[in-house]
Assembly symmetry: C2
Homo-oligomer: 475 residues x 2
């Protein structure tokens, strides 16, 4: 797939939905209601046309009737009709076709397999960039072309996503958005019979908006080509790979889902490691790692300075970071000398972890917090800092005074901006869900990396550090 | 510690707070504002007495002046004063004293160690049941005696909690409450110099309200006694143990926190396994396991029937359950014969996992869902069922019609009640946080086990099954 070809497909100025219908609430036209380019519909069913017109969309009886160039076609027609409309797309010379329709080789049935072969033949002969079949197509946040009407549109995001599952593509957009992880371009690739993972990977590696690439894949057809594209991409930006079907029963499920063949999990892990890619094992895990890569500064050392509000949390934050493979060393003599002069050790401790609730006054004295940040930032034994934000204390201050957190956040953001060391925060427990969600958004909007648990923060940061070490040539 | 003695201490009819003060917002008197028994205050500082009176609490100048018996004293006085007031408690013959004050042996300083030895001497000589020091005391939900004013009071809960951390005790109550895990009796035990883990464990094992016991511990003083109490408890009800300080640096943190000595993680794990206790590694993980124990029916087999809405989710739900050590077998021939007659395999599959979105109509047709439940319930290859609840679909139905979920929940609850097999649900993704929180509460209130991710559900259920297998004598 020539790069320019894919660039046109993933950045369309014109799009057409074929087969939009009332039964699914005109889903695709609604998904593209935020599209910044020109949008048209093709539908031959008379009973659907009034509904399409009511959405303000011009309908044509045939793709060949649509005036001008078409960069992107979303095809949502019944399975037996798909090959014929694909042939029209070839004739029209469209930029790309995303085929929503499913029921092809992934069913394992003769009819599905035969139809998929026919699609492949038409696409090859007609030189059509076919995305799918059995897919949700493209989500380009800046252009407002979406996989679901719940996804956000507006400024360009920073994360590219390649997904062999439409659900995971949609959810990466939705959940990511809540966590400050915004999509540049996401593609739901379905059975990927024409345009495949390496094509998308090459594109996202070269895409200027994309700072981090993530993917959900169930199988790889051409292992050699995949590794080549993966290595090229990881030499340019971080690539996070969430592999589905890593168990035998899971692999059976991938066969019915996208017709993917099983790959040995051990072999796949080795491939990722050698290529410098980052392994993830769930949607949340993928988003966590991406968050660490986007928001925490790059570092190659893993010696953490830990800040917790109470003794119990100082123990478990330490277990979490050490458990993830990072270190929690003793601080330098100089740091201890400074801490000794003001740190409250009645119900507290500054050995690292810092059990600092009694010292910063629980609610969080910004001035004292700044002193602690400065000490850890200057300490030669420390490569990065993780801090507990106790949501109970936050909630109490917030309820008393909605602006009370600004001073505290100023201190955190000041440290994040001044320090060259990665800084992550953990906002928990999750018992005041509305407060936690609001606080997380406020913190994210100011550029802070906010995690839901010590474990999740630790595991995410450890893998980000491993990637930066790979980039530095250390392993 | 004689059992009757502890029963009185943990089920007080009268309580006194010594040292309540404005600086902390009269924290302890407020924590006990829901207390169903009689509450009094002891404070000699004239400047605090008006504030205490304003709360409607009678203040005395000395504990010895308080009329009648005192079952429970919360002592929150400056460190040097603690021994003298403890001696008053001994003279008065109180049921128990919880000592909030910290700054004893856990500081590692001479003065703290000396004072702790003095406390121990007074408690021993005066036969005082001392809880702590350095603790948040008792949370008895039914009696309204709490560790934090955020904790709920009312009906008795079902879960006992023993915690060497006040923070984790409070948070177990707060987060647990959001997840349908309500506390019967929780004790923050602090340095536990007199009443220790085995005493509390024996009490909770015998307590009729307590169906499940959980604990956060950092170290054990008398290993032999701990194991004896643990074995006794696990033979009566499930015991979940979250051990803090499992890493070297974490153990250093426990030393400053509660003065606990390090125990080798490998040895500790072996002890738990042999005693049939369940290991957990964080607050969320502890709550997840307890939830599975409370809400899912007991089973000794781990062959799961999995129900997901889409192909991508059917792959990752399978990876999660197999990854946690459970099995996802093929169904019986009889089940396949029934499924073949109505299951939609265009974009779906019924091999197990069931990729059923297209069959139940995404939003969830209760009637079709009931057919699927009946098939899995009757299938001899299946020991338990896990079902994805897709929050996006729920949110859409909910917004359209707030009562729309009742039919769907009726089907789930009907299955849960009819079937002898454990049933767990996974409500995700978490992008519509308010909807997810509301839906989770509605589901929990109807007795369903609801988890936040496939991994968390799988890991929790796998450990619950391992416990029931232990109880059945299978391992």
């Amino acid at each position: 797939m020539p790069p320019d070809r894919l660039r046109r497909a993933l950045n369309p100025a014109s799009a057409v939905v074929v087969g939009s219908k009332k039964a699914d609430g005109y889903m695709w036209l609604r998904n593209y209601s935020t599209f910044t380019g020109s949008l048209a519909s093709v539908q031959i069913d008379e009973s659907e046309i009034a509904g399409i017109a009511a959405l303000g969309i011009t309908n044509y009886r045939s793709l060949l009737d649509v005036p001008g160039d078409i960069d992107y076609v979303m095809l949502a027609v019944p399975r037996p009709v798909a090959p014929r409309v694909l042939a029209d797309c070839a004739k029209k010379g469209v930029g790309a076709v995303a085929l929503f329709t499913s029921g092809f080789a992934e069913t394992g049935e003769d009819e599905g397999i035969r139809l998929e072969e026919e699609l492949l033949r038409i696409a090859r002969e007609g030189d059509v960039a076919l995305i799918g079949p059995n897919c949700m197509g493209v989500y380009n946040r800046k252009l407002g072309i979406r996989q679901s009407a719940e996804q956000a549109a507006g400024e360009a995001g920073e994360v590219g996503f390649i997904s062999q599952s439409g659900t995971h593509a949609i959810n990466f957009g939705l959940v990511g958005e809540q966590h400050g992880v915004r999509v540049s371009t996401s593609v739901s690739i379905g059975n990927a019979i024409v345009v495949d993972v390496p094509d998308y990977l090459d594109y996202l590696a070269d895409d200027a908006d994309t700072r981090v690439i993530a993917m959900y894949i169930e199988g790889v057809k051409d292992g050699r080509r995949f590794v080549r594209s993966l290595r090229r991409a990881t030499s340019m930006k971080p690539v996070v790979v969430w592999k589905g079907g890593v168990t035998t029963a899971g692999a059976r499920a991938t066969a019915s889902h996208t017709g993917s063949l099983a790959t040995s999990p051990a072999i796949f892990s080795a491939i990722l490691r050698q290529a410098g890619a980052i392994a993830a094992d769930s949607l949340e895990d993928t988003i966590d790692v991406v968050k660490a890569l986007l928001y925490a500064k790059p570092a190659t050392g893993g010696r953490m300075g830990l800040m917790a509000m109470t003794g119990g949390q100082s123990v478990v934050i330490t277990d979490a970071f050490v458990g993830a493979g990072l270190q929690v060393p003793r601080l330098s003599a100089g740091s201890y000398e400074q801490l000794r002069s003001f740190f409250n050790i009645i119900g507290g401790s500054y050995q690292n972890p810092l059990d600092m609730g009694g010292t910063i006054g629980f609610g969080g004295s910004a001035a004292t917090l700044e002193k602690l940040f400065a000490i850890l930032d200057a300490d030669p034994n420390i490569d990065g800092v993780a801090m507990e934000m106790a949501s109970g204390f936050l909630a109490r201050r917030w309820q008393a005074d909605p602006s009370a957190l600004d001073g505290l956040l100023d201190a955190l953001v000041g440290h994040q901006q001044r320090s060259a060391k990665p800084f992550v925060t953990i906002l928990q427990p999750q018992h005041v869900e509305d407060i936690v969600a609001q606080a997380r958004r406020r913190m994210q909007d100011r550029g802070l990396a906010v995690f839901a648990s010590f474990d999740r923060a630790a595991r995410a940061l450890a893998r980000a550090i491993a990637y930066w070490r790979f980039r530095a040539g250390d392993e």
